[in-house]
Amino acid sequence: MAEENLINGVVITFFSTASAVGKTLISVNMASELAREGYSVCLLDMDLQFGDVSNYLKLNPIYTMADIQRMMQAENSDFKIYEFLTEYEHRGVAFHVLPAPLQLSEAYNIEPEIVESMVRDLQRYYDYIIVDTTSMFSTLNMRLLDLSTIVTFLGIVDFIPTIKNMKIGNDTLRSLGYDSNKIRLVLNRSDAKSQISRADVENLLEERFYHILPNDFRSASTSIKTGVPLVLSPDDSELARALRSLVSLYTNKPVEYESIAEPGDISEEKSGGWLSKLFN
């Protein structure tokens, strides 16, 4: 790990336009699974003010993004970014984390240009850079989206306001002019309690979900409490399997597990129903 690559690593960003849809949980698991498969991985917590990566992995970082920004601004040519990252290790599987600042004032002063340099620098050393974000179109997030190889746009189906924001978010992402395979629409917590059907949502978005992750509150919260990502835990939950199959879609490795994404049931009819009243 942390040997200089001749090629630049892949940047996978998790983004959403609603909070609490699983960006952090899934990015932590993506990093873990890639590391388990032998790739060198760095996970970036770009939820600068209230980032949860260190919480979900029970890390106590010594250096954070604020320190790294300071060092980069000092323009010392001996500076090696990977020397200041925090390692997560579980039963022989390890990856690096670039944690969010500890203080709110530091968070407020992180500069998008410096973040961009951090990502570019990390790309030289790691196969995969996994980026966790916040749910808004901020200057920082827009820049991260531009830099990314793949953007996973995550959604959940709980109630109509969230669906409205997913639609607006998806339309906005599509309007940015990226290659069509760059943005991947993923549904999390698919069978959670809701009055709204997945097919209605796909009709509204005019797009199928690329992958679907099941709702499993117990496994998710156990993993957060213990600090052990689902894909590294011995109890092989359905959610863990679905997470692994998402990773295999990204690495183009043969699918070890059957994807649980059944084809979405998109009817021929355009949604003229009650959801469309939101968007006339």
Binding site: T17, A18, S19, A20, Q49, F50, D52, N55, L104, S105, A107, Y108, T134, S135, M136, F137, D158, F159, I160, P161, K164, N165, I168, G169, T172, K193, S194, Q195, I196, S221, I224, L278
Partner: protein
Amino acid sequence: MAHNVLLYESNRIMLGTLSNVIKSAPNCNLVASYQSHTDALGQGKVFNPNLLLIDVESQDATWLITEFRKAFPSAIIICMGERWQADSASHLVQAGASGYIIKPFSAVELKDTIDTFAKGGGLETSCKVMTFFSPKGKSGKTTLIANLAMSLARKTNEPVGIIDADLQFGDMAVFFNLNPSNTIVEAARDADFLAPVSLQSFFVPVTDNVSVLCGTRNPSLIDRVAIKDFETVVNSARSLFKYLLIDVPAGFNPTSISAAEIADVTYLVAMNNDGFEKQHIRKAISLFEEDWPDVKDRLKVVFTRVEPYGAEKSSELENQLGFPMEGILPNEYMLVSKAADNGRMALDIASDSRLSDAISHLADKIIRHQVRRDTL
């Protein structure tokens, strides 16, 4: 009732323009017009006007309104100016004015203004502005605001306003099933020139007493709402409502910071999910503590989705935070989601639910505090 209008305007050309507008306005007789305030004060009484339109930009405005009030004790007084000045509004109201209009105005604008102020809906002098702030999203704050606004209006019969300043993904319009033509973007655009009555027309009424200034229609419009214009909108809205509730984006950002600074009280809202939300709330509290010496008066903490719901859990949270708990809301996921999906309020769907009780309890606290303040 016909309005017998006395017009005082110091600019001769404007005097002519406005006279013609008043003559063409429905229900208005122009009984006297003056370019000099001493003439208006001395001679106007002869014509027995019941509505005065007074140019407040030529003289010391407060003094002028006080004099007109003395000379015409029972007339409605509407101030005229070229731009709305929120900071002097409450002085004018205390001196006896009931309203404000930006000149020049059209006959329709005049009629709307008179209608608003003549039916007793004068400018509010003491409005309680409340900002709802959450470290992270999905805290339940939009649900809280919408239901709390309804509860405050029902209990007090006072006008209640909601401003959706969650500038990229504001949900208030969906909560109330509205499809407004005017939003915070238009209000901010016109901020400098808006008197409260015109601002009122940007708010969409949802009941007799509750109205909403809706959020942007798409995320890129955030750039069209400058912070200073947003602040002007909030300050003008103070004159329209007794209670004003502001929804802001999660986290510390220019909008949420300015809304917290401008508010009388900021509610810190988090959903109790047994994750790291207590830690996030503590972090936010400590930042407010650094900035606000009177933090205990200005900052209140509310947790939503609290189970088991009760005083015991509330004091447990209080101990964990080291900060008083203003209120807790129970877990009513199906109720609130169904309500929002159908553009209705949880309070209406289940008025006897634990959620309704909790909201009602919070509203009572706010009202008691406001009544105490008003009687000081």
